[in-house]
Symmetry: C2
Subunit: 304 residues, 2 copies
Amino acid sequence: MAAHFADRLAALVEERQSQIVLGLDPDPAALWPVALRDEPGAPADPARATARAVARHCRAAIEAGERSCVAVKLQSACFERLGAPGWEVLAETVGTVRDRGLLAIVDAKRGDVPVTARAYAQALLGETPGPYGPVAGLAADAVTANPLFGRDALEPLVDAAAAAGSGCFVLVRTSNPGAAQIQDRPEGAPLHEALARLVDELGAGSVGASGLSAVGAVTAATRSDLLSRLRELMPRAIFLLPGVGAQGGSVAELGPAFEPHPAAGLVTASRSIVDAYRERGGDPGAAAAAAAEELRAAAWALAS
Amino acid sequence: MAAHFADRLAALVEERQSQIVLGLDPDPAALWPVALRDEPGAPADPARATARAVARHCRAAIEAGERSCVAVKLQSACFERLGAPGWEVLAETVGTVRDRGLLAIVDAKRGDVPVTARAYAQALLGETPGPYGPVAGLAADAVTANPLFGRDALEPLVDAAAAAGSGCFVLVRTSNPGAAQIQDRPEGAPLHEALARLVDELGAGSVGASGLSAVGAVTAATRSDLLSRLRELMPRAIFLLPGVGAQGGSVAELGPAFEPHPAAGLVTASRSIVDAYRERGGDPGAAAAAAAEELRAAAWALAS
């Protein structure tokens, strides 16, 4: 039996005094220069050459940020757009993250009817039985999930995560402006509160020794005004907090996320770390390391 | 400029007198026997061998069903769980569907913040610029999209679809039992009505000569009682109707979907076609062809 996700995370948070998640959303048109050095011009297979460059970019960014982080969040879309070679690099990068002792969160935001949710669980967290033996999935330490389909469709992901000692972060309040229209609808209680109750119910059966559940919530740092209420509704959930930096959220406003435990809030930052050199100048790796470290210190000060 | 999705679909529907969409959700543990014939036992790379078998299964099912169908819906999860080789077969199968004159609907149910939604649009509908030239996406004729993030997050998919002459089906009411908890919440107007209004707004700018929009709606055949109201809210949307057969929905109850146009409703059927031989006996292809043809005739009778 694998160790419980929340307990693995809690131990890492304490050890590294960090709640920072390095977000990797590699844009092939804006890779670190170091990623391009080995590739001759105009290769025969642009998809494969681009995917290899993305792999080098991700490895360099992980090496730069790892000291200040506990996890790396890989944006699935950015790999999928490179086709099969992109998927290969996604799998490889999950391995790189785990090899370096960090947790790999695959940000795939999947959601579908139960039979299909089981297939996504096999892809991300488990394996698929087949005529020639089992086919391994990505072995993510945690995944993100879209709850629009309701509880029966989340259960296959939650159950597969629990079986693998992994976590599942359910979208409760996303960080984009348009989310208000759906997730904060004023008729009756807002949808994000219904989703929060669902997360709490789903997670009740998988609470670790840390008191935190393997079922977490994605809830926007851009709407820090909601955090106290959401914490009340989800006292055991780990909050994955996107939207700090480029999207306008501020670490200083995230206090309620950390209330139950220092590991109860994870601050994900992508562009503000990986693209720090564009504002600060100098080497991308050094700028990323400095940005990650500043974020770590700010969050840790708030949580402790 | 590519022809408008709704017009391409409308022409195919009239020509084939069919609104049937063949759903392919290949389960590697339940492939047609013909898919396994060429593969020797215990290959070195189970993922690749399994993906090749899935490719053969899909090709055989398409050949069996194509005469009675206008489109094939590929369940992305079932390919993703085979890793990079699975993604390769997904791309190959999209090509097979298009080569045979049918529309390829990639059922990926993606949804994310706008910047990530653009990456998904590149993966599914467009291409990705990169340092070694553009990387081609799947070139789907249509995709499914999850609207939880709201309008700003749907627009990149809708816009990319319009630019490619493709369509985008937005989830409005899904077919699983748990959907009721979220999508039919009784406080105020149910969420599915808010989603229907969003689909109507999003689609207003992309209505084809057929009077139908490139922005459609996924709405469950299992909740046919909602169809009249949803049709009222989305008079120009093409409804993609899952849930007939294995999930309990019946073609006879889908009348309101077809009201504006014979192409305004598409009936997707997966297991009830592909697995028909398990109940009917005989050759899988012959049973699938017969099941698809029965469904086609039932829907066409209703629509005309």
